[in-house]
């Protein structure tokens, strides 16, 4: 029986009321909402830091603030955005909400652990905010030794502790997803019937579980070194600062894939839903996620080509870096091919998905420049790198996150957002983003180093363009915040499946009941089984 014809069961959101019922919930959907609120607040803090930096960079002379303040701002921006927004964003919000729904389960495998993950995350964030608001931190998000251990006089240890703690949240979330996807799938839901979003989340989880511990221990050693004045990475005491960089990037490079893989998964879902067909080369796209997760671990050394690493290691890491580009390229080509002879509805989520593909393509291709050793020597640690990873993380991940939020908003809240405003915001974000970051490619190639508070006047024109773009981008981000909130009261009621999409999550009511499905779902068909027509000829 369809959920819409039964007397509607109480939704997860209205089954009980009160703060207590939310803070002690083990319902994956409510935990997803908790995460959504938390990371939105953190995103705003990180965004404010970026805004101040962009305003300061309007002029080359550094008139608005002193050097130390600027350094703290970019550190806060980096740390908050990477560890407290990008890494948790899609997995903890959309992943938490959708994994059990998409596989037809009643909850994640470990519901209480899931809630614990959120509390751990909040504890980590609290430490981080404490560090920020009681003196700040000026090491950048990379914490390079020996600067972080013996030179910086800011609140490094609380910040390290914050990241260390939130790391456990990542590990436990990853663990929960892996076990859930392995063991809780509905009857008939074989691996190659899984939505592509779940393939990408699975790959993400593997990275989270296996890479995060390495960062955790590294940060512990840095904190120990700072507190006890002993040398593990400090060359003055026989340590090797490059060893820190190896350990740091062993986590932090795969962490880039933690940020982009879920975005790829969302994009695959959106493209399937709005071209009304299966994604071209489903198996290749699915396995490419796994390939990225594995190959992504083999390339961390490309962050260290000028750091004094051995030439031999540089050559190895360079060629491996090209390998990891291949599965990403496969995905881009498959998404494009999926549009061919589809039945395309150009709704807001698809706009974001197309934006994702375009910006990710540019970000990915410029990543190849950075893998080419001689070019990397010139452009590493310049704005070229800044532009590159913002194309991946902001152009890629944030676009996908917004696209996913629009697509599943009716499922999450039971309300529709205003489509016109959605399209307008998507275009604003796209334009603002490109205006912000494309000039940074140019000035990077011209030699503008990153993390510079004062800079030679010849780069000013690019900085002004960039700041102008950032203002547009800010508007683009504020718009959805406003109309999403308004839609909670004024939005039109959503049906169970407003997009006419496949996938188990659309088979239950919007918003879903506490245990997701009234009837236990059984899967009997291939994924994205939209009706199709035969090729015109042949």
């Amino acid at each position: 029986m369809s959920a819409t014809t039964l007397p509607a069961p109480a939704s997860y959101a209205t089954v009980s009321y009160g703060l207590r019922s939310w803070l002690l919930t083990t319902d994956h959907k409510r935990i997803a909402i908790l995460y959504m609120i938390s990371i939105t607040v953190l995103f705003v803090i990180g965004g404010l830091a970026a805004t101040l930096m962009r305003v300061e960079l309007l002029t080359p002379g550094g008139r608005l603030m002193d050097d130390a303040t600027y350094n703290k701002l970019f550190s806060v921006h980096g740390i908050i955005m990477v560890f407290f927004f990008l890494i948790p964003s899609i997995p903890t919000v959309l992943g938490n909400f959708l994994v059990p729904l998409m596989i037809g389960a009643r909850d994640l495998a470990f519901p209480r652990l899931n809630l614990a993950s959120w509390y751990i995350f909040m504890l980590g964030a609290a430490f981080m905010l404490w560090a920020i608001f009681t003196g700040g931190i000026d090491t950048g998000w990379t914490f390079y030794t020996p600067f972080s251990t013996s030179s910086s006089t800011t609140k490094v240890v609380p910040a390290l502790l914050g990241i260390f703690i939130s790391g456990f949240s990542s590990i436990l979330t990853g663990l929960n997803f892996i076990v859930t996807i392995h063991r809780m799938r509905a009857p008939g839901l074989t691996w190659f019937r899984l939505p592509l979003f779940l393939w990408s989340l699975y790959a993400t989880s593997v990275i989270l579980v296996l890479a995060t511990p390495v960062l955790g221990m590294t940060l512990v050693l840095v904190a120990l070194e700072r507190v006890l004045h002993v040398g593990i990475f400090d060359p003055a005491l026989g340590g090797d600062p490059l060893l820190f960089q190896h350990m740091f990037w062993f986590y932090s490079h795969p962490a880039v894939y933690v940020m982009i893989l879920p975005g790829m998964g969302v994009t695959s879902e959106l493209i399937a839903a709005f071209t009304h067909r299966q994604v071209f080369g489903y198996r290749f796209v699915a396995l490419a996620s796994v390939a990225i997760a594995v190959l992504g671990f083999l390339v961390w050394g490309h962050h260290m080509f000028v750091a004094g690493m051995s030439v031999h290691a540089a050559l190895i890491f360079s060629i491996l870096s090209y390998l990891v580009a291949i599965p990403s390229a496969i995905k881009v080509f498959n998404w494009t091919a999926s549009l061919h002879r589809g039945a395309i509805s150009l709704d807001t989520p698809l706009l974001y998905a197309l934006g994702f593909v375009g910006l990710f393509t540019i970000g990915g291709l410029t990543g190849l420049f950075l893998a080419a050793l001689a070019i990397d020597v010139h452009v590493t640690d310049t704005y070229f790198v800044i532009a590159h990873f913002h194309y991946i993380m902001v152009g890629g991940m944030v676009m996908a996150y917004l696209g996913g939020l629009h697509y599943w908003w009716p499922k999450i809240t039971g309300r529709l957002y205003p489509e016109i405003w959605g399209k307008l915001a998507a275009l604003t974000v796209f334009l603002g983003f490109n205006l912000t970051f494309f000039p940074q490619y140019i000035m990077g190639y011209l030699g503008m180093p990153r993390r510079y508070h004062v800079y030679p006047a010849e780069f000013q024109v690019f900085h002004v363009l960039s700041t102008a773009g950032a203002s547009i981008l800010a508007v683009g981000y504020l718009l959805p915040l406003v109309y999403f909130l308004l839609s909670l009261w004024h939005g039109q009621q959503a049906t169970a499946n407003p997009w006419g999409a496949t996938g188990l999550e659309w088979q239950t009511s919007s918003p879903p009941p506490p245990h997701n499905f009234v009837d236990k779902p059984v899967v009997t068909s291939e994924p994205y089984n939209y009706p199709t027509r035969e090729p015109a000829h042949g």
Binding site: L210, L243, H246, F250, G301, S310, V311, H312, A313
Partner: protein, 107 residues
């Protein structure tokens, strides 16, 4: 299939007798390891003692942790974790051991 079935089929459990034998083997291997460490083998000691530790780990994994009886998935987890550790070790040592290879300095 419930847990009791598994027990009845003898699948997930190691008999006390086997457990005792494995324990004895572990203790003997520890003794061998200490002895090996004291021989003059010119640098091969470390490798040999680690090899013995690996054998001990396999014994514990196979019999006490019952990976031996498990099907694909548990084995996959173990292999994945070891593989990732190997990647970390290999990539790092690739740099650490080859820094002097290309004669940049003192050429």
């Amino acid at each position: 299939m419930s847990v009791e079935d598994r027990n009845a089929r003898g699948e997930p459990t190691t008999s006390p007798r086997t457990a005792l034998v494995v324990c004895a083997a572990l203790l003997i291997l520890t003794g061998v390891s200490i002895a090996v460490a004291h021989l003059a083998l010119g640098g091969w000691n470390a490798l040999l003692t680690l090899l013995i530790a690996a054998v001990q780990a396999v014994l514990i994994g196979a019999f006490y942790m019952r990976i031996r009886y498990a099907h694909g998935l548990p084995r996959l987890v173990v292999v994945a974790a070891l593989l990732w550790f190997a990647i970390l070790l290999a990539g790092t040592l690739d740099d650490v051991l080859t820094r002097g290879w290309v004669p940049v300095l003192g050429k």
